[in-house]
Amino acid sequence: MLTYIIRRLIGAFAMLVVISMVTFGIFYVVPQWAGATPEAMASRYVGRAATPETVHLVAERLGFYDPVVVQYGNFVKGLFAGAQYDYGAGVEHCPAPCFGYSFITGQPVWPDLLDRLPVTFSLAIGAALIWVVAGVAVGVLSALRRGSFFDRLTMGTALAGVSLPIFFTGMISLVVFSYGLGWTPPGGAWTDFSENPAEWAYNLLLPWITLAFLFAATYARLTRAGMLETMGEDYIRTARAKGLRERQVVVKHGLRATLTPILTLFGIDFGLLIGGAILTETTYTLPGLGQYAILAIRTQDMPQVMGVVLVAAMFVVIASLVVDLLYAVVDPRVRLS
Amino acid sequence: MSENEPLLSVQNMEKHFPVTKGLFKRQVGAVKAVDGISFDVFKGETLGLVGESGCGKSTTGRLVTRLLEPTAGKIVFEGQDISHMGQGRLRPLRRDMQMIFQDPYSSLNPRHTVGAIVGAPYRIQGVKTENGVKKAVQDILELVGLNPEHYNRYPHEFSGGQRQRIGIARTLALKPKLIIADEPVSALDVSIQAQVVNLLEDLQKELDLTYVVIAHDLSVVRHISDRVAVMYLGKIVEVADRKSLYSVPMHPYTNALMSAVPVPDPKVRKDRDRIRLKGDVPSPLNPPPACRFHTRCWKAQDICKKVEPPLAQMAEGHQVACHFPENAPELPAAETAAKTG
């Protein structure tokens, strides 16, 4: 088991390295291939009014003339050891992990990311909880009552949930619940958990449900299909033949086996959730990472983009790592290979 | 066993499947599915191949039809070495060598009609027939006991036994010389098994076919074969003509196998002298050294763990790989051991 964990950790780390290289390549190198000169990139730091000489100097100091490998090396060094930026007008120290400075605001990227992380995290965790519980419960119930009214109703709703885009369901619920009924705040509201947990939850309720709806629908359908299959397995028949009560047969034997693939999916989804969060945050104008990323991309603020991508990638990689480890705990057959 | 030249001759054939591990597919071992076996099949005869699950029977079948390439050794078909022949050069030979599979349900494409399935070999091999493919297919259908009017029907409309007949019809289309049948009846009901066994025997007489029949059922193999080879963990441990194998089995494993077959006679069960093996067949990933049977053999001695017994002639047409064979009158055990040791 230990070697398995170590192997997986190394794999996860390698994955992050590859992602960072690719991202770096896309945002720093490809623009140059596409004709962007080091001067053009440097001019983003000093403003359009600067003289060509200043721009040239800054580009040199920022290392834009160096070979890609050196640039990437410096970037990684910044991540782990921090970096010194010399603009000519004094030296700025950027402590590790240093993602550089925003082109636009001139602020270091990392504190910005840290600022927005709790928002995205709150959204993701709350929604994940809701969708797993609701999705699995609905899936199990409809599988056990296949063909019933409940089954048809929930599966019909689930189909809608899978096929409707988030901004649509989001907008509809905003219109109905906030503007119409006035049950929830109209978006944009954010209270830190440590300040007022009730307020925090109240503000996030609608975004949670909107986001969870999409995933819960998928999970309900998957759970239902998985349960239908599992309940036909020979070992379920064995469990019944032992004289086990039906509820235990369903939970201990049926659900146990069904949950394993769902768990895998959950890991991937939790990572991908960042994508969903982007849309949800945009809809509800929440000050999270998603919104930050959209802004960054719109303004071509490379250090910011790089930061968001790496943090997001870390989400995905860590989530799938945790799930893989859990998987090995749950399914004893995995450990062997 | 008519001519001296065998139709198929296998010499020291091996197939090791690599077992890989990790990201870089490092090879950590090999499944020795077939580990150095030799046998001949003569024209017009039926060679039976028996053994327990995982001993390498199917792999042997797939090797001699060259669906797999051997890791070592030689396969000679009609005087030609086909061991490492490329697919292009094998193609014409495939007409002469056909395989019947175990599962009559999954081996037929459900979307093709019987006519298309049985006629496919003609199209693939580009063979011209006198009165058209349809007539030829209908003739074959009749030969295997199906109604020629079944031509336009689909496999799912047939029972298991009838599907196996369709499978057999397909292999017969090109008038092969050698048919490898891998568990041709084990998925079928008893009453249907008998129909298919009889059909295979009739076809052999009528079309002068040569068979290698792979099965785990000793009674079916005895019924259908002229000679029988017994396999254990990738090795042939005994080969003999049917009569001497079943009346004087020499290898302890063969004896144990026969003793294990339940006899459909309620009286016999009470007074039968049984040999009961302990445990299961070891993994072919890590087979026991020297004689592979020594972990379960009640006659095992030290030498069995150190020296591999060669497949040696013990009587006319009867080869056994054992240091201390049963029922072997001519050669005392000590002598056999000395000879190999």
């Binding site: 028949r237 086996a257 | 019924h223 009961r276």
Partner: protein
Amino acid sequence: MSFLDVKDLKIHFPTDDGLVKSVDGLSFGVERGKTLGIVGESGSGKSVTSLGILGLHKGGRARLSGEIWLDGEELIGASTEHVRSLRGKKMAMIFQDPLSSMHPYYTVGQQIIEAYRIHNDVSKQVARKHAVDMLGRVGIPEPARRVDSYPHEFSGGMRQRAMIAMALSCDPELLIADEPTTALDVTVQAQILDLMRDLQREFNSALIIITHDLGVVAELSDDILVMYGGKCVEYGSAEDVFYRPEHPYTWGLLGSMPRLDREPTERLLPIKGSPPSLINVPPGCAFHPRCPYAERTGDKATTEVPALAETEGGHLVRCHMSREERRGLWENEIKPVLETQ
């Protein structure tokens, strides 16, 4: 009344294609310490019968009628909860494929412990000791260590032993084994059959063994029930059925089967055609489309369902031919052919 007494059991499934009469009027009994063998081809209703006795069709689509008396208690009319409380304790079952019949995510020990604790109010530790004990009794080496293994870490034979340990953990008085050895190799099958025979003697339970292999039935059974198309066609002691069979279908089964204990015949005597559809069971005698003697009973074969009538001392046969006619055929036509084998 026997310990288990089944009377006129019918199990029908309504489906889109029509009513499937999987079991259609079956009656039999088993005493404690005795073994009943149920034989029949695939789809003849053997498994449906055994699941019916255990009450595992309850809540499904199946329509059950008739009576199942277990130790003086009627089960078909009993509440689901009551039948559940008997399952595993008073009656238990061993299934065909031990790998798929055990939960892949729980250790063998956990599964036996669970079975034991459903019916016995004991601590986990006590149940665990019991599980180790049971594993030892069914012949698993090092039971104290293997109790924590997962099913996939066991070999096929060991898994079936573990299944047996699980079924016997609450000391059931009725044990039903549905094809307990079909998935196993012959040498392992022999071990398991020995084990079942020994354990039955030790536990003195009533045993029903379901199989399509006449050899397996002969090894274990006191009484034999031959099923065809959801009905019993012949029922009697093992000696009756093997030495004095009177139903043409039983003759067919015996003739279809190559045997190791006799000289091989030239040809097997298969039953023509294939097993009936249970939706459109042939009218009259369900076996008539395949019966070589159907003409002898004239129109009756196709119009009238023959009754299951006693021929002599508890030996029951379902055929329109007269007792003398059947015995004559067996003595003069069938037996001589089978025995020259």
